[in-house]
């Protein structure tokens, strides 16, 4: 037995995990080898020193409580188990990526067209076949023409609408003016009537007073 072999056996010996026959060998070696004996003694002292750090109280008192399970939680647990097996995780990641690729390719190949006031769209997983530069420019020209036609139509409609609106407003304004004038004239008429009535009543009162005065003068007793 050499000192190098001893390193492993020394640990077995130090922690009482040594087989009886090996223990005899180690004991014999330690008796003959001062270096190994010294090492064994210091290591066993170090081991003893380490023991001075006693166990501490965590003051945790962990307690697991049963959760009342909701159907949503149960579904989530079923769909995304806390610790899914590795292949399960891989499969879900792969499915996610595939779905993403499909979605992106569908979006890339989506066509939206506008023709004679109608919107239309088509989507495809593969790009539309047979699109050439000429076809593209033709399509662009066609679209431009449609847009211009539509623009003209909208412009005319807008102008017509503005004209109608103006006419309607003017007519309303004129009607309002005439109605105002009529009511003003009526007010003036009523005012004149009232004034005439007032004047008449004053004249009548004056006449009555004059009559009374006249009677007083006429029937004055002779002195």
């Amino acid at each position: 037995m050499t000192c190098d072999d001893n390193k492993i056996l020394l640990m077995d010996f130090l922690y009482n995990e040594i087989a009886p026959e090996a223990e005899t060998l180690v004991r014999a070696h330690l008796q003959n080898c001062a270096a190994c004996r010294g090492e064994y003694e210091t290591l066993s002292r170090t081991s003893l020193t380490l023991k001075a750090w006693e166990n501490e109280d965590p003051r945790l008192h962990l307690t697991f409580v049963r959760e009342s399970s909701s159907w949503l939680g149960a579904l989530k647990e079923k769909l995304f188990p806390a610790e899914a097996p590795r292949w399960g995780k891989l499969a879900s990641v792969a499915a996610g990526i595939a779905l993403g690729v499909l979605l992106i390719s569908a979006l890339l190949n989506t066509e939206i067209s506008f023709n004679n006031g109608n919107f239309a769209y088509r989507t495809s997983l593969l790009p539309r076949q047979g699109t050439t530069a000429e076809a593209d420019s033709q399509l662009v020209a066609q679209v431009r023409q449609q847009v211009e036609t539509q623009y003209q139509r909208l412009l005319l409609a807008s102008q017509q609408q503005q004209r109608d609106e103006l006419n309607r407003t003017l007519a309303q304004f004129a009607a309002e003016i005439s109605r105002q004038r009529q009511s003003d004239l009526q007010l003036v008429g009523e005012g004149l009537d009232a004034f005439q009535q007032h004047t008449d009543s004053r004249l009548q009162r004056n006449n009555e007073m004059l009559n009374q005065l006249l009677q007083t003068v006429i029937f004055k007793p002779q002195q």
């Binding site: 002292r45 170090t46 001075a52 501490e56 962990l62």
Partner: protein, 207 residues
Amino acid sequence: MTDGDLINKFLNGPDTSEGTNAFNTLVWRWEKPMYNFILRYLGKQEEARDLTQQVFIKVYRNLTRLKDRERFSAWIYQIAANLCRDVIKQKRRNRAYSLESLQESGALDEAAHPALTLLPEAALHPDRIVSRNELRDILEKALQEIPEEQRVVVIMKEYQGLKFTEIAEALGVSVNTIKSRMYYGLSALKKILAQWQFDEEAMLYDV
């Protein structure tokens, strides 16, 4: 009731109160060993508490996948060791980042940070008799000084009292590798404590 019995009881009815009680008994049985293991591994009480909780959450979620119920001890230590290793890796990444910024600002000049500041208070005054609390701090710092793969073996052997075969099983390496790491870890600790002029005599005069 053995751990295996409790596990069976829990797995037979995880949604029943008996199952929950069995699991909680298992938790209370293992709470202290797990906490102390993690505390000595990482050296931070708050972190150890958080990580202990995480260990039991992992146990709760994965217990169905433990085939051999009698291997629970090795299994739970494996979970705890993996969590600690993740935390250390994370810290190393963060530190690499912050070291970069410190180097740029010149804060890492040796004059500004002499190596002595890293030593525990008691190690600076070797003549003084240390209290048990100081001794604990010294050992905590000394454990953090040795390589992580040796530290975990030393903790499992010295404090958790696991057999070499159990440690090998929990860490997934051969028994001889474990013994060798134990030897080098213990030797390194011996050297560190001697460098700090601290030996077991201090402990004998414990106040």
